[in-house]
């Protein structure tokens, strides 16, 4: 078991290293260099050369990469080329705001999807299953920004219950952001839940057809007890992986949705920094996303190992 954990952790670290190289190279390949971008219409060749030197853009790429990785390991992502503030504090403020959305989204999506998925599984091929399956398929197929736009149209323009956009900056308090969290979270949860519903439905159907459930039923247990004590834990296992992957997907999904709601999160930071060619910020945000992704996957693997006796013991028998 230990060797399994070690192998997964090492491969996670390797993935991160590879991601950091890719992020760095991708940022270098962006069209339009940051010096001309900052100077805009005032970019005379002299001014550009001066600024490039000042920003160290004239040094070889590998040298800049090593510097970047070294300071990133110390939690220093440099300073933003545009605002002049430390990237780490800026990214942390935005990440915190996004975490608020992520938390609400995961709560919505996971509880909602599990309930619906289990219902669909239990009432397989009946109208409830058809309804849930169709709706979740539709939810899966519609991009999150469309869902977000429809939600804004319904719940902030037609019915003014929630704000359509956030009018605060990244320093907004949780209290200020809270009214604005629900719509983006709902939009993300709709797309995310679809996958989990499908997964949970399939698991429940498999489990309900299994011998131990039949045995439990024969013992005379009520359906409710069979579902909660026997079927659900078994059905949760494969679903866990999907949930973890979806949390990782969230990091990308928020980029678009946050822009629709002008929400001061990590996705909006990424978008503005790409538009401004603010290299240190782009790199930091991309790396943070990679870390979230890798950590979620690792957690999913280790989590399913902890829940699955077969995986847990496989290491020993070898």
């Amino acid at each position: 078991m230990l060797s399994f954990i070690a192998r997964r952790t090492i491969s996670a670290l390797g993935t991160l290293l590879l991601a950091s190289v890719l992020v760095f190279l991708a940022v270098q390949a962006l069209p339009g260099d940051v010096a001309t971008k900052i100077l805009g219409k005032d970019a005379t060749p002299d001014a550009v050369a001066g600024l490039r030197e000042q920003m160290g853009l004239d040094r070889p790429a590998w040298e800049r990469y090593l510097d970047w990785v070294e300071s990133a390991l110390h939690g220093d992502f440099g300073t933003s080329l545009v605002s002049g503030k430390p990237v780490a504090t800026e990214a942390a403020a935005h990440l915190g705001n996004s975490a608020l959305i992520a938390l609400v989204t995961v709560l919505f999506a996971v509880t909602g999807a599990l309930v619906l998925g289990v219902l669909a599984g239990l009432y397989r091929d009946r109208w409830a299953d058809h309804l849930i399956s169709t709706v979740s398929l539709v939810g899966m197929s519609i991009p999150e920004f469309v869902v977000a736009t429809v939600l804004v149209l319904c719940f902030s323009i037609a019915l003014p219950w929630f704000p359509a956009v956030v009018l605060y900056g990244p320093d907004a308090s949780v209290g200020q952001l809270l009214p604005a969290v629900w719509l983006p979270a709902l939009a993300l949860a709709t797309v995310m839940a679809a996958y989990i519903v499908r997964m949970a439905r399939t698991s429940v159907i498999d489990v309900m057809a299994s011998e131990y459930v039949t045995t439990a039923r024969l013992k005379g247990l009520s359906t409710w007890r069979v579902v909660t004590r026997h079927a659900l834990p078994g059905a949760l296992l494969p679903t866990l992986h999907v949930i973890a992957l979806n949390v990782a997907w969230l990091v990308g999904g928020v980029a678009v949705v946050e822009n629709v709601f002008n929400y001061p999160g990590i996705g909006k930071l990424l978008l503005t920094s790409v538009q401004n060619r603010d290299l240190p910020v782009i790199q930091a945000v991309a790396l943070i996303s990679a870390v979230v992704y890798v950590v979620c996957n690792l957690a999913a693997d280790l989590g399913s190992m902890a829940l699955n006796p077969k995986l847990r013991t496989r290491g020993r028998t070898r």
Binding site: P31, G32, D33, T36, K37, G40, K41, D42, A43, T44, S80, V82, S83, G84, F145, V146, T149, V150, V152, L153, S156, I157, P160, P163, A164, V165, L167, Y168, G169, P170, D171, V256, N259, V260, F261, N262, K268, L271, T272, V274, Q275, N276, D278
Partner: protein, 523 residues
């Protein structure tokens, strides 16, 4: 970048992802018939007091309140500060902090008589020292002011004189009869003497509002300044929210979270949704956007003046206005001076595809094929390019419209590709316009046009103290730009501004926004 795109950086994602209201509408209405949009905002007097909520696109994460700097937060400037002179509704100059101004007989030295009894928000009295410092601050290299390029060839900061507390004397390096018009620029708002280092945060001016709070690319607010020299404004306060995405701004207006969208020219689809809503409507700022297809005169085939001329004669501006603007604007006829400018000349060559064909043949470019670059940076670029393409076909010119990425459009395409679509705000007085965008060597000369005759004509016009004669010279300048220059100007578009139905007294033209009179009704 700020200079040219005063309209602000339109959402870059909007084009790519079609977010927000505009997406829904274009999806729903599709080929619906064009309904007429209202010509003006609701009329009537506002109630006294209230807070106006404005959504604005941030200039940059590094924006400041320094009016002279390249990254100023534009909306705050007119609320916080005053200039010496400003542009009136008829396009002429009207007093702001200067009550009167006069030149010597050769237009080499200008004397400004300054208003008395004006106080800054910190209680200090406004004097000529502040006015002189403002000019020195603009000319200071460390400020990196976009307006320095226009003023530095004219003013030596060391020669500025303040004979008394209410007189400013500006000796010029060369005669300039239109000099005061250059001080109407939004970089020229007056700041307190010696405040250059702090003004970006404090925002201390003499304007109708004083600063409460300001965060770069974040929220901020200003409150009425009771002791303003022209009387207190109608409103009690204005709050500003930074919303980078155009569709998000429109949603905020539709949801009743804000009352006005600044620096936002709504696309037709969104404008119709806004107009149809109970909360908001559309106000038009007439001819406020100058759309232009700059030909780089240093790139083939546009090095040949005959080709440039043919490109202009080949298409019909009225067709472009009809197709791309749905009639919401005025045909440009390749004259960059807007139709409502007092010095605008009406005469222009007529649309003549046969002559265009003939000119091309003479230049050895019969059946010319050119690439025209556009992007989703502005919703009108591509319609304008397609309308031009369609119209120029009659002269045998084949135009290939190429769409470039919006986020690198102004670094990769503008002033790099021989032909592209772009726009500017109108509102520059004629000498500012010619000096900044058409004179040889100016950093904003987007056609890289360098014509000694034009430069000499501009100098002659500036030195001419007879108003009638000077008017004629600036007229000749327009003819020269039309006949020889590289700028194809198909149209001037009305800006479609989203405002709440409660807003009264909204008046904006060029770079002038009436912060004193604007207010709310029944808020």
């Amino acid at each position: 970048m700020t200079e040219a795109h005063r309209p602000g950086r339109r959402s870059l994602l909007a084009g790519a992802a079609c977010l927000g209201a505009s997406w829904l509408v274009s999806g729903c209405t599709g080929a619906a018939s064009i309904t007429a949009l209202p010509a003006a905002a609701p009329k009537g007097a506002p109630d006294r007091g209230g807070t106006l909520r404005i959504a604005r696109p941030p200039a940059s994460d590094a924006e400041t309140l320094d009016p002279a700097g390249p990254l100023s937060a534009y909306e705050y400037l007119g609320a916080l500060y005053n200039r010496l002179v400003r542009v009136g509704t008829d396009g002429g100059l009207v007093p702001d902090l200067a009550e009167a101004w006069e030149a010597d007989s050769k237009a080499r030295t200008w004397t400004f008589r300054l208003r008395k009894g004006v106080t800054f928000h910190n209680g200090h009295t406004f004097t000529s020292a502040d006015a002189a410092y403002t000019l020195r601050h603009i000319l200071d290299k460390a400020t990196a002011s976009p307006q320095a390029g226009v003023l530095a060839p004219l003013i030596d900061p060391k020669t500025l004189r303040t004979p008394d507390a209410h007189t400013l004397v500006v000796p010029l390096k060369s005669p300039h009869a239109e000099f005061p018009s250059l001080l109407t620029h939004y970089n020229c708002y007056v700041i307190p003497d010696g405040s250059g280092r702090s003004i970006g945060r404090t925002g201390i001016g003499t304007g109708p509002f004083r600063l409460d709070s300001f965060a770069p690319a974040g929220p901020g607010s200003v409150t009425a300044y009771q002791d303003h020299w022209a009387g207190r404004p109608v409103l009690d306060a204005i709050s500003f929210a930074s919303v980078a995405d155009m569709s998000a701004r429109a949603n905020a207006l539709l949801a009743g979270q804000v009352d006005l969208l600044s620096q936002t020219n709504l696309d037709f689809a969104t404008a119709r949704v806004v107009e149809a809503s109970d909360r908001a409507t559309i106000a038009r700022v007439k001819n406020s956007q100058w759309y232009v297809l700059p030909m780089l005169t240093t790139e083939k085939p546009f090095t040949d003046v005959r080709v440039r001329k043919a490109m202009k004669l080949a298409y019909d501006p009225e067709h472009v206005v009809k197709v791309a603007l749905q009639g919401a604007g005025t045909a440009g006829w390749d004259n960059p001076v807007p139709p409502d400018d007092p010095l605008h000349i009406r005469s222009h060559p007529e649309h003549d595809p046969d002559r265009a064909r003939h000119l091309l043949k003479k230049a050895g470019h019969e059946g010319l094929t050119v690439d025209l670059h556009t992007s989703s940076y502005d919703p009108l670029f591509t319609p304008m390019a397609l309308a031009y393409q369609d119209s120029a076909r009659r002269a045998g010119i084949r135009v290939r419209v190429k769409t470039a990425a919006a986020d690198s459009y102004y670094t990769q395409i503008w002033m790099k590709k021989p032909l592209m679509a772009t726009y500017w705000y109108t509102g520059r007085p004629i000498d500012q316009l010619f000096t900044q965008i058409f004179r040889s060597g100016s950093s904003y000369n987007e056609t890289a046009w360098s014509d000694k005759d034009f430069d000499a004509l501009l100098d002659r016009a500036r030195a001419e103290t007879d108003d009638k004669r000077r008017r004629e010279l600036y007229g000749e300048g327009q003819t020269m730009v039309i006949e020889r220059g590289g700028a194809i100007t198909p149209m001037f578009a009305d800006r479609l501004v989203g405002v709440s139905r409660k807003v009264r007294g909204y008046a904006e033209h060029g770079f002038e926004f009436d912060y004193l009179a604007i207010g709310l009704k029944g808020a």
